[in-house]
């Protein structure tokens, strides 16, 4: 069972290097992450994008690109399509986003999933490593679905459970989050929680459990009537997966790592392998962490360099 980002790094070193299709690594910070990941034995990069910009970024971080395959690409959607196609046809077990908007990547993934008739919905998982917790937690969907309806949430849960099974958690616990509180009537996100809990009990999502809590207050205090006690927060056993009600909430909360004492790592798990999708604001160490996680997941999905 993978319990921490340290476990991920150790395993990435053991299971790598894996081929990664790197899309538009035209930024110094991202290129530095590629360099570090290669030096640590995680990856063997295939660099796709504007050759001049790639060379320039590599030069800035003193990274000799001679040993690596490079594929020239111009417009961003084309670069994204090419890299994601490499993932889906098995040429590379991982794809990674460089200085390119995620919307291009999502579009490419959706097209390839449709072509593969996988039925998989694209969703993003953002993991947090919290000091003192014995497992990683993940917020999902933190990147694609703006206001997912009940059916979309079903698919998002299936994706997350699939990933947690890969990480070695046989029966992950899920909190379906909602802004439901003492005022404001019943929110649709709460109605979704009720429906999803029934579905989980019927094993619709495989082995998992949806906990009887939709707010952090209920999770940490055991109920909204219980008194607030800061001294007991570290003792609380957290669910593994937090299904967020909407993109605004998911994205805003998951980036609290800049404010809180947590480490963050995000990815998209497609039917054919993981896609590394660092934020354009991420620095190299965070990106390396995300690459490591993709290496481990790719390994566990049985994807090997071809």
């Amino acid at each position: 069972m993978i319990r921490s980002l340290s476990d991920i790094k150790r395993l990435a070193g053991e299971k790598g290097p894996k081929k990664i299709a790197v899309l538009a690594p035209e930024d110094e910070e991202f290129m530095l992450a590629v360099k570090k990941s290669w030096e640590m034995g995680y990856i063997e990069p295939v660099l796709i994008g504007n050759e001049g910009k790639i060379a320039q970024a590599a030069q800035k971080v003193s990274f000799d690109l001679a040993p690596f395959e490079k594929i020239a690409g111009g417009e961003l959607q084309g670069i994204s399509d090419l890299g994601i196609k490499m993932l889906f046809d098995g040429t590379a077990p991982i794809a990674g986003k460089g200085q390119i908007s995620t919307s291009y990547i999502y579009r490419s993934i959706i097209r390839e999933e449709a072509r593969a008739a996988s039925g998989m919905t694209v969703s993003v998982m953002t993991f947090w490593e919290i000091p003192g917790s014995d497992h990683l937690i993940a917020f999902t969907d933190s990147g694609v679905n703006i206001n997912p309806d009940l059916n979309a949430k079903r698919e998002i849960i299936k994706n997350a459970v699939f990933v947690y099974h890969l990480l070695g958690y046989p029966r992950p616990k899920i909190a379906v989050l909602s802004g439901q509180r003492e005022v404001g009537g019943k929110l649709s996100s709460y109605e979704d929680y009720e429906a999803l809990r029934e579905a989980a009990a019927a094993e619709e999502f495989g082995s998992c459990e949806i906990v009887a809590a939709t707010s952090f207050t209920e999770i940490f205090l055991g109920g909204r009537q219980n008194p607030m006690d800061y001294s007991r927060l570290k003792e609380v056993e957290l669910p593994h997966i937090f299904l967020v009600p909407c993109l605004d909430m998911g994205n805003i909360i998951c980036k609290l790592d800049l404010f809180l004492d947590v480490n963050r790592s995000s990815l998209v798990a497609t039917s054919r392998g993981p896609v590394c999708i660092p934020a354009r604001s991420d620095f190299s160490d965070v990106i390396v962490q995300q690459i490591a996680m993709c290496v481990v997941l790719a390994d566990r999905m049985g994807k090997e360099v071809q």
């Binding site: 910070e29 919290i130 703006i146 989050l177 909602s178 802004g179 509180r181 003492e182 005022v183 404001g184 009537g185 929110l187 996100s189 707010s215 952090f216 207050t217 999770i219 940490f220 205090l221 909204r224 009537q225 219980n226 008194p227 607030m228 006690d229 800061y230 927060l233 967020v244 009600p245 909407c246 993109l247 605004d248 909430m249 998911g250 994205n251 805003i252 909360i253 998951c254 980036k255 609290l256 800049l258 404010f259 809180l260 004492d261 947590v262 934020a279 354009r280 604001s281 991420d282 620095f283």
Partner: protein, 305 residues
């Protein structure tokens, strides 16, 4: 300038005690009122079963003469009596007491019989004390409004800016939060944020720096914002965070408390007179600070910040 919860308490004490109207008080409410009275912040006015309240009060530091008792055995009548006292000026601040949050919120928003005001959106702001430096931040709306319209967001922001200025922040810096920092017609929160930011540019919120849309990394970190090509004095140093809707607002308010272990207090804004709601993740000690904060609102635009 008020930078900490202790500063709030000190400032409120300087203003002298305020009369708290507390309908159908629970033991916790009576204990809180006793602490507020001891701290020189309040004169409790309890409305409810006088005999039962006297028993609860006797178990605290309160003595006869320290508080008023209004005999109203029915909880709804106790609320009506307390509300009437606050509306008439016989009391300064309305507490939730033993009234359900839903019933109490209805009174706050009622523009005819309650504390609501014509043309003003009643909102809720959560204040947090940063752990690494003396600074207070406001997050709004974290409790009352489910899916505010653009007009309501404009008022929620105006309410928060009023409170920020009351705390001594002359030119509040505002981050209008959304999932991404780019204006995307497919994500409605980014459109509202862009419009509010433009209103800020045109000084429609008075002296304030309003930036949006901002995703959380840009709001929290100047370096992260810089990586995205965004330069603004708001990034990395916002005083006010305006959220797009309640799913984000309430869960963000909770996340800062439970994951960040940050101390929090709340304030009802936009009402004709100050009022206090009881949120489950506010400690007894911090509820005292909430009374102090509400005291600062007395005579400073009521709950309008």
């Amino acid at each position: 300038m008020i930078n900490t919860f202790n500063d709030i308490l000190a400032a409120a004490k300087q203003g002298g005690p305020k009369r708290l109207a507390i309908p159908a008080p629970t033991a916790a409410d009576v204990s809180l009122a006793a602490a507020a009275a001891t701290a020189g912040l309040a004169i409790p006015c309890f409305a409810g079963d006088a005999g039962a309240i006297a028993v609860l009060a006797a178990a605290t530091t309160l003595r006869e003469g320290d508080y008023e008792l209004w005999e109203e055995k029915d909880p709804h009548r106790s609320l009506a009596r307390s509300l009437s006292a606050v509306r008439s000026g016989a009391a300064d601040i309305l507490l939730q007491g033993g009234i359900s949050a839903a019933d109490f919120a209805a009174v706050l928003q009622d523009r005819q019989e309650g504390l609501g005001r014509k043309g003003v959106t009643v909102s809720y702001a959560s204040l947090y004390q940063l752990r690494k430096r003396d600074k207070l931040i406001l997050v709004t709306d974290t409790f009352l409004n489910n899916r505010p319209t653009l007009v309501e967001k404009q008022q929620i922001l105006a309410n928060a800016l009023g409170l920020a200025r009351l705390l001594g922040i002359e030119t509040p810096k505002v981050a209008i939060l959304a999932a991404i920092e780019q204006v995307n017609p497919g994500i409605p929160s980014t459109l509202d944020a862009a419009i509010l930011a433009k209103m800020g540019d045109r000084r429609q919120f008075g002296k304030a720096m309003v930036e949006g849309p901002l995703d959380m990394d840009c709001a929290l970190s100047q370096a992260a914002a810089g990586r995205k090509g965004l330069q603004s004095p708001v990034t990395g140093n916002a005083d006010v965070y305006l959220v797009p809707e309640i799913e984000t607002g309430h869960l963000l308010a909770e996340a800062l408390v439970f994951f960040g272990e940050m101390q929090t207090v709340g304030a009802v804004l936009g009402t004709a007179k100050p009022a206090l709601l009881h949120l489950p993740f506010v400690t007894h000690d911090n509820r005292l600070t909430e009374i102090a904060l509400a005291s600062l609102l007395v005579g400073n635009g009521g709950g309008n910040g």
